[in-house]
Amino acid sequence: MAVAAPEVAESRGPSSRARGGSGGPRYPGWLALPAVFWYLLFFLGPLGIMASYSFGEISGFSDVKFAWNLENYRYLFDGPLYTDVFKKTLVMATFGTLATLVIGFPFAYYLARHAKHKTLLLLLVIVPFWTSFLIRTYSFLIILDPEFPVSRALRPLGFPEKFELLYTQKAIYIGVVYNYLPLMVLPLYAALERMDWSLVDAAQDLGDSGLRAFRRITLPLVIPGVLAGSLLVFIPLTGEFLIPEILGGGKTLFAGNLIAQQFLEARDWPFGSAIAMVVVGSLTVALLIYARAVGRQEQYG
């Protein structure tokens, strides 16, 4: 449930910089303590324990012995069994990112440039996104069923009577695109909304073709939005677990399913922790690349 765009922190406006002087109240720093305590104890602490588990080993039925060895990681990258899962996860996350970009970009472009009632339309994108992920996903069990009433009604028009979509890779991909589309649209819209369209008009007046104006003016200005959206989609997708579980019938394993399996069925927590660490590690790398890319954008953009 990643909900935040990464570029949120600094708020604008002159008032935020107006410190010192007579000033209003300055709230004491200790007010942050309860939340920081909560984060440290229930978030960072658990992540640390998970990290140390990943170097441990299982003893007896499900007890964990801290061993400080790399056995779990070696096992993970030993042979195609698990590396295939990572490859498949990577393919799925990349597909999800590209597909939401292809569908989301023209949509965000339309909202930002042509639509009236922008705020309302944007809200209409977010509202489903904030309602139950689980319900919206299981609804596709109904929609993709060959006996779905709409599909049955379309049969006289040549709609196939039988088709195998449910519990296949395709069903998972449909669910992925559906659930992650808003995460791509929001940052794209935020970037496009800041555009000065008169620049595009001017370029076209001065003889640029529409496509050329788009490439030379619009595109460079929205790249930060594209990067942010890609990150917002890609990161949670690497750990996606529910969509394959429901729409794939639990047959298709991605990294997220593998982690869940180790914790709930195999009861090999150290191994499950190692998989989670690999996911977190790759995400950190992706984030660092992103940070560099954005930094470069700001330098030259």
Binding site: M1, V3, A4, V8, A9, S11, S15, R19, S22, G23, G24, P25, Y27, G29, L31, A32, P34, A35, W38, Y39, F42, F43, L44, P46, L47, I49, Y53, P106, F107, Y109, Y110, H114, T119, L122, L124, V125, V127, W130, T131, S132, F133, I135, R136, Y138, I142, I143, P149, Y178, L181, P182, L186, A190, G239, L242, I246, I259, F263, W269, V280, L283
Partner: protein
């Protein structure tokens, strides 16, 4: 691309976004026993769902967790937002990073690490099975405190300090300035943050899935486990009620924020969360 074409694409995208919601809600009113075959309009499944203990009990659990989570998240998040607003960068940046981490970490990673932590902590203090309603509540507060902090802080920074400065100049102390000037102005943001925190907790599946233990079931967990036996009209009715409740909470949150600030804040929340 032509403007018309873009418009048509947008319509299709909206249809795509709303189709699953419409389908579940519409089929919840199906009078028949079979989900996929329409047998006339009826509200009977809502009644059946509300008479089913295996649905109402998880509903109660979810509401209790959601409310407790919202209250704690509002307290922690608001205090955090106020403290961060004027903190020195070297303290603020790491705390900020921590808060964002709670929002961007894949939920499954957080879920399993919380599970390990609670079981391990249970071993240390000698509680055999620590998992249950409390562990779900504690885990939900982690990311919801960040959600509230985000919204309250945007409001706090955006509204400026002119009124607070005026109150100071007129001799009001820090506490009474907070109570009489700042808090009322922040109230809409806190309320909206609380409503969203409730929604996110009420809808949460993955975190609850890992830290709930054997004896505790929230409503999303109940729905998930019933999917194994196929979707029933009663489950659709339950889902429709959940959707109704969360949609209501979201709309109220939006309206509260929008009215409090001529709509500017409403767009802020749209952009930020």
């Amino acid at each position: 691309m032509g403007r018309r074409l873009l418009g048509a694409h947008a319509v299709l995208v909206y249809a795509f976004l709303y189709a699953p919601i419409v389908v579940v809600v519409a089929l919840a009113f199906n009078g028949g026993r079979q989900v996929l075959y329409w047998e006339g309009f009826s509200t009977r499944w809502f009644g059946e769902a509300l008479r089913d203990d295996t649905i109402t009990e998880p509903l109660r659990t979810s509401v209790i967790i959601g409310l407790g989570n919202a209250v704690i998240a509002c307290l922690l998040g608001t205090m955090l937002a106020l403290a961060l607003a004027r903190m020195r960068a070297w303290v603020r940046v790491p705390i900020d990073a921590l808060a964002y981490m709670t929002l961007v970490t894949p939920e499954i990673v957080f879920g399993i690490s919380a599970l390990i932590f609670f079981v391990q902590a249970g071993l240390w203090v000698g509680v055999e099975s620590p998992l249950g309603i409390w562990t779900i509540l504690i885990a939900h507060v982690v990311f919801n405190a960040s959600v509230v902090a985000l919204i309250v802080r945007a409001r706090f920074v955006g509204m400026g300090q002119a009124l607070e400065e005026a109150a100071y100049d007129l001799g009001s102390g820090p506490l009474s300035t907070f109570r009489q000037v700042t808090l009322p102005r922040l109230a809409p943001a806190i309320l909206a943050g609380g409503l969203l925190a409730f929604t996110f907790s009420f809808d949460d599946f993955i975190t609850s899935f890992f830290v709930s233990g054997a004896g505790t079931t929230t409503l999303p967990l109940r729905i998930f486990s019933s999917l194994r036996f196929g979707i029933s009209p009663a489950i659709n009715a339950t889902a429709a009620m959940i959707l109704g409740l969360t949609l209501l909470a979201i709309v109220v949150a939006y309206v509260v924020l929008r009215r409090s600030d001529d709509g500017r804040q409403g767009t802020v929340i749209v952009h930020q969360v």
